[in-house]
Amino acid sequence: MKQSYDFNIKNIYNLSSVEKDIRKKNLDLFYKSGFPNKKNEDWKFTDLNSILNKSFESITNNHDTNLNKKLEIIKNFEHNYILLGNGKINSSSFKYEENGKISIKDYDQKNIINLNTPSSLTFLNNALATGGFSLEIAKNYKLKKPLIIYNYFSKNLKNKIFNNKNSIILNKGSELTLIDYTDDGSQDNFIKNIIDSVIVKDNAILKNILIQNSKSNGYFYKYIKVFLDKNAQYENYIFSSGLKFNKVEIEVDLNEENSSCGVYSALNLLNTEHQEIKTRINHNAPNCKSYQKIKNVLNDKSKGIYQGKIFVESIAQKTDAYQLSKALILDDNAEFDAKPELEIYADDVKCSHGSTSGSIDFESIHYLMTRGISEKEALKMLINGFLSEVLEKITDIKLKIFLEENLERQINGY
């Protein structure tokens, strides 16, 4: 089955003729190659074109704006929120924060985000992007509570594609914990194609958590481009199990001294779920740190991929870079692919990487069973133990408990 596209720029309102032109050019660029396939080195483990061919007859960017459900606020911990409907700001609340410290507005689509490795999805995004948000935190303002971005969608999602761009700026000395929370609940196949631009200025700290509330037939792609200034910290946690398809690309530029970044992931994949995490960490300045820990549990016919590249410029002496990927493969039909890469031009650096994959330890299961615990329960305990290690670095206790419970629900298959 070959799907047909119904991509329409005419339905995007208030465009100047220059903008229309740029969008048309980008759409043409997309049409030249179609959705990425495995011939593209960046997509060698994820042939998106054939994945979409299997599930979509047609794809369109025409969609209505009525949300499929009312906002259900998470009660586990106090937080600010932004509600996005199909990626567009619907409402927001910052009742725990001081006035005038946080700016939130619709994304200005005139701002194209330049990526080092654009794909045809980037062109499609540039052609069709609507909605999206721009969030900016004032200098030295540390948010008192986390911010949850509730991602909701319209009814009749089937065959729809949503393209959004978002911008997040943390000015000097500010702090934010941002939880990107997807609550779909429909059974429809749909696509989400997102580009995030993240700027963390001197001494600012951003923690970004990607999480999924339930199983979803969403096919998600997200490219996060991160710029870090002096002493800036960025951490990204990916807990997005339950999606049919997900590829998260994170590119971090450590542009000034003493900045640091971390990418952490704990995924329990079931059925035919397919998730790829691709990172590129650019050490462009001395004395910066990067840390990556990717953990996957693969059940059934699921597929997990980690492609991680650490790039160290010649100027970036005293770089401390680490990456580790561990996979537990629980079914002969499941697959995990890892491609770690180091490209180093400085001579005084500490870089290490490791990748292991294996099956569950039968001796451990037996040990737990000799204590009266059933085999199924023992397996769950081991999976949970394997994945929950990633949560160690979360210091907010209520948030941590919330994430632990979510992880447990993931392991139980929701």
Partner: protein, 244 residues
């Protein structure tokens, strides 16, 4: 309580147990001694229900044919194995493990499952008796524990689950004399007329602290000699090779 008749066990087409007979009654302490490779640990593994063995013969536990029973059901029915090498389970909190285990066993016995507060009170008491620092209970199960700490943790689990038959597989190995005494005291304080012990050991020294009613010598997959507690002392002097 436990009746084993003509037990034969094969692993990877190698015959390990070659017709073993053993009868344990409530209130008794049996010790099995024997050289390396005689089949001691195989016996412990088989009683615990470990997979991977081809088994012939009879194993009867309180009227139930054990051979058909999955590992967790054996544990729930009152068989406990203290491991020679307790496993380290990363990411699994000791307290949560102990509570899950205890409640699984209590549920099978038709008892009410314990809530967290009641459980924590109980485990604190039991840990104190064995001189286990509370901090260990909030750590990952056995991860980074010393040999002695792991063995004490096994005895703690035994006292918590209150089994009918406790099998101690080389529990004395890797223990210094103080830890050995604590472990032995743990066993002695739990011993009563209703329960029984099967102690598997290389050496006499654990038996100096836990007095067995019978000592069996296992050699080449069979029990070749059975005697009273005095047999252990003799073996210490003469070794296994002079027996047969």
């Amino acid at each position: 309580m436990l009746k084993i008749k003509n037990l034969k066990a094969t692993v990877d087409s190698k015959l390990i147990l070659k017709g073993l007979n053993l009868n344990i009654k409530p209130g008794e302490v049996h010790a099995i001694m024997g050289p390396n490779g005689s089949g001691k640990s195989t016996l412990a593994n088989i009683l615990s229900g470990k997979k991977g063995y081809e088994i012939e013969g009879e194993i009867n536990f309180n009227g139930i044919d054990l051979k058909e029973l999955p590992t967790e059901t054996r544990a729930q029915q009152g068989i406990f194995l203290a491991f020679q090498y307790p496993l380290e389970i990363p990411g699994v909190n000791t307290n949560i493990f102990l509570k899950t285990s205890l409640n699984a066993v209590r549920k099978a016995r038709g008892e009410k499952e314990l809530d967290t507060l009641t459980f924590l009170k109980l485990i604190k008491e039991k840990a104190l008796e064995l001189g286990i620092d509370e901090k260990f209970l909030s750590r990952q199960l056995n991860v980074g524990f010393s040999g002695g700490e792991k063995k004490k943790n096994e005895i703690l689990q035994m006292k918590l689950l209150e089994p009918k038959l406790s099998i101690l597989d080389e529990t004395d190995s890797g223990l210094d004399i103080d830890a050995l005494k604590i472990v032995a005291n743990g066993v002695n304080s739990y011993k009563n007329k209703e329960n029984a012990f099967l102690i598997i050991t290389h050496y006499q020294r654990l038996l100096d602290y836990i007095k067995p009613d019978y000592i069996h010598v296992l050699s080449d997959g069979k029990i070749i000699k059975t005697g009273s507690a005095d047999l252990g002392g003799q073996l210490e002097k003469t070794g296994y090779t002079n027996l047969s």
